[in-house]
């Protein structure tokens, strides 16, 4: 935007900010404050949360017993990011470069499965991978796919792949095809061109995709619940259990707060690069 003051702007525009802004403040920002407030509380006779000053909820978060759960969540999320990148980038590349006139339709098709309910998509994999499922129907000896860490990671990949593909595709699509031609002249092979031209140019999109996959994956509990076993407990399951199983909303809130703070680092990083992109 080059700052022309044409059209509606100024105070009128400022006023339009208020309805949405106020809603977000009241229903998004304020509740986060409540989470922090409850995280310092304790539970009453019936298990309800009461306010107080019990910072030990936070020291409990860092109890070595829970360290594996936290590390595992980050680990699974990282594995998910890597797999999404490896699986998703080539598809985005193919559609952007060779999709031609059907580009839009193809990318829409890729994204379409993600509009099916996440639970159902994940559950479908249970049906496919279970001991009496489709795949084991073809094999001789039934192989145990479900209730393993790779099943959970697979579920996460399947769930969040679109968040990688879309930003990468957007970055690839924006690239000037002349750049690639020039690259081919310079570097010879497709692979070289890719490494020296395409990849650096689309790096911002890749980063965006990584962040958009990593953040929700860390907090996911559905995959672990449906596809995992007792050894694949993730921080999302732990939090969910505090609210719907054990009666410890304060501890659950403390876990949530710590997780949010951890992810904040990546969020800030993403927001900065989004701002930078918006300016170019």
């Amino acid at each position: 935007m080059d700052g022309d003051q044409g059209g509606l702007s100024g105070r009128f525009a400022a006023r339009t900010l208020f309805p949405g802004g106020f809603w977000l403040l009241a229903f998004f920002a304020a509740p986060l404050g409540l989470v922090i407030a409850v995280s310092f509380g304790t539970t009453d006779e019936l298990g309800g949360a009461i306010y107080g000053w019990y910072p030990e909820n936070y020291s409990r978060v860092f109890d070595p017993l829970f360290a594996p759960v936290l590390l595992r969540s980050v680990g699974y999320a990282l594995a998910t990011v890597v797999l999404c990148l490896l699986l998703g980038y080539p598809v985005a590349y193919y559609i952007a470069r060779f999709g031609g006139r059907r580009k839009q339709a193809l990318i829409a098709l890729v994204v379409l499965p993600f509009f099916v309910n996440y639970l159902i998509r994940t559950y479908a994999w249970v049906a496919i991978l279970s001991d009496e499922g489709v795949i084991n129907g073809f094999l001789g000896e039934p192989v145990r796919f479900l209730n393993t860490p790779w099943a959970v990671i697979g579920g996460l990949v399947y769930g969040y792949l679109a968040f990688m593909i879309l930003p990468v595709y957007a970055a690839l699509d924006r690239m000037d095809p002349a750049l690639i031609e020039a690259g081919k002249d310079l570097y010879g092979t497709e692979l070289s061109t890719f490494i020296h031209v395409t990849w650096p140019t689309t790096f911002q999109g890749v980063l965006a995709g990584c962040v958009l996959v990593f953040l929700p994956a860390v907090g996911d509990f559905v995959s672990a619940q449906l596809l995992g076993g007792p050894g694949t407990y993730m921080v999302g399951n732990l939090i969910q259990q505090q609210f719907f199983g054990a009666e410890d909303w304060p501890f659950g809130s403390a876990l949530t707060t710590v997780m949010m703070l951890f992810l904040l680092v990546f969020m800030v990083f993403y927001l900065r690069s989004a701002a930078r992109e918006a300016r170019t």
Binding site: M1, L25, A30, L46, E132, Q241, G245
Partner: protein
């Protein structure tokens, strides 16, 4: 000109503005907004008549009441039954605590004790329930409801191990059969903190309800040692056994009957009561203090207490219902399989889950989180 949103001075201002949002939230909390009011004694002691006063909001374990009876009730009284299910007592409590209003719930005895003491249960006047005269005398003064004026017993249960007799030939009669090598990877513990810690207590020779830190620690270690062999934690013992995912399942006696009703070879499914100890309990009808249609709830209870209906129910869910008359139906079911039986004598002499009190429950809660996460 475009402004860089990340220039320092602006950043501080934005943080302030964002912080204002958070502060709003903290302020709300500070004003002490919220926390459900506890029901007063008068509210819970009012007498409600057994007259239909709207649709029934029904909250129970799944597959724990014959669905045909629900349909029959709907037809006979012209109301709808809105059913939702919980998968654990804690799950039930979580929903109650969130402010959801149910008309009829099915807590087990120790939870009844807790809810009743916190004035969360509506008074049930047995005079309103003509069919209640068949209930066993033991339940006129049960430990969890000394005047029998807030609950009606629904079923008696025992916890043990459900197993595939055709796949596993070497059950030793102990809780440690959970780690039977033949069933490696096909074993489930109940997803219930009381059952697992209770079983752990029994295994180490302690009292079922021990809240001694040493005992509970040992129980936790037992659970953690079983965990690697497990396929998972689940209270859906019926489905897990029926589907073949489980060959060994920490589970409840009556579910064996339910399982047998659904499979081709019922004789393959057996129940074991373990030698170290058998947790026992009673599940009860109860009406939450904030129920909106308590009259319909009472009518429903009376309906199920009708001997014919109770018998049909027993055939479906397989648990002993403590009513004279229908108990013969149950006797018929167990004549070849005494392991499934639970009698009043068992209840009087055996170990039942108790209300642990706030401290004890917190200890068990934390241990449970550690078991799940560890």
């Amino acid at each position: 000109m475009t402004r860089d949103p990340w220039k320092a001075p602006l950043r501080r201002r934005e943080l302030l503005q964002g912080g204002a949002g958070l502060a709003l939230g903290l302020g709300l909390a500070g004003c002490g907004v919220g926390n459900q009011e506890q029901a007063s004694k008068e509210q819970t002691e009012r007498v409600v008549e057994a007259k239909v006063d709207g649709d029934l909001v029904y909250f129970n374990w799944s597959e724990y009441l014959e669905p045909k009876l629900i349909k029959a009730f709907e037809k006979q009284y012209g109301v709808k039954v809105r059913e939702s299910n919980f998968d654990s007592m804690q799950g039930m409590m979580a929903k109650l605590r969130s402010g959801n209003r149910y008309d009829l719930i099915f807590p087990s005895s120790e939870w009844v004790d807790r809810l009743r003491k916190a004035n969360q249960l509506l008074r049930i006047d047995l005079d309103q329930l003509p069919n209640a005269d068949t209930v066993y005398d033991y339940f006129a003064t049960p430990w969890y409801d000394p005047q029998a004026d807030h609950t009606v017993p629904y079923a008696m249960y025992a916890t043990g191990i459900i197993y595939r007799a055709d796949k596993i030939g070497d059950m030793s009669g102990s809780w440690n059969d959970m780690v039977n090598p033949t069933a490696d990877g096909r074993a489930f513990l109940l997803d219930d903190f009381q059952e697992v810690i209770g079983a752990g207590n029994l295994v180490s020779g302690a009292e079922l309800n021990s809240v001694d830190e040493g005992d509970v620690e040992k129980a936790k270690e037992w659970a953690l040692s079983v965990k690697p062999k497990l396929r998972g934690f689940s209270t859906d013992d019926v489905q897990n056994m029926v589907s073949g995912n489980a060959w060994i399942h920490h589970g409840w006696n009556g579910d064996v009957v339910n399982i047998r009703n659904q499979v081709d070879k019922p004789e393959n499914y057996s129940f074991q009561k373990c030698s170290e100890g058998i947790p026992l309990g009673t599940d009860c009808f109860a009406i939450p203090a904030n129920a909106e249609h308590p009259g319909t709830a009472l009518t429903f209870i009376n309906f199920i207490l009708d001997p014919e209906n109770a018998s049909k129910n027993i055939e479906y869910m397989g648990y002993p219902m403590p009513y004279t008359g229908p108990d013969e139906t149950f006797a018929g079911l167990v004549k070849d399989d005494p392991a499934i039986n639970v009698t009043v004598e068992d209840l009087e002499s055996g170990q039942q889950f108790e209300n642990l009190g706030a401290e004890g429950r917190r200890l068990w809660d934390r241990t449970w989180t550690e078991i799940k996460a560890g």
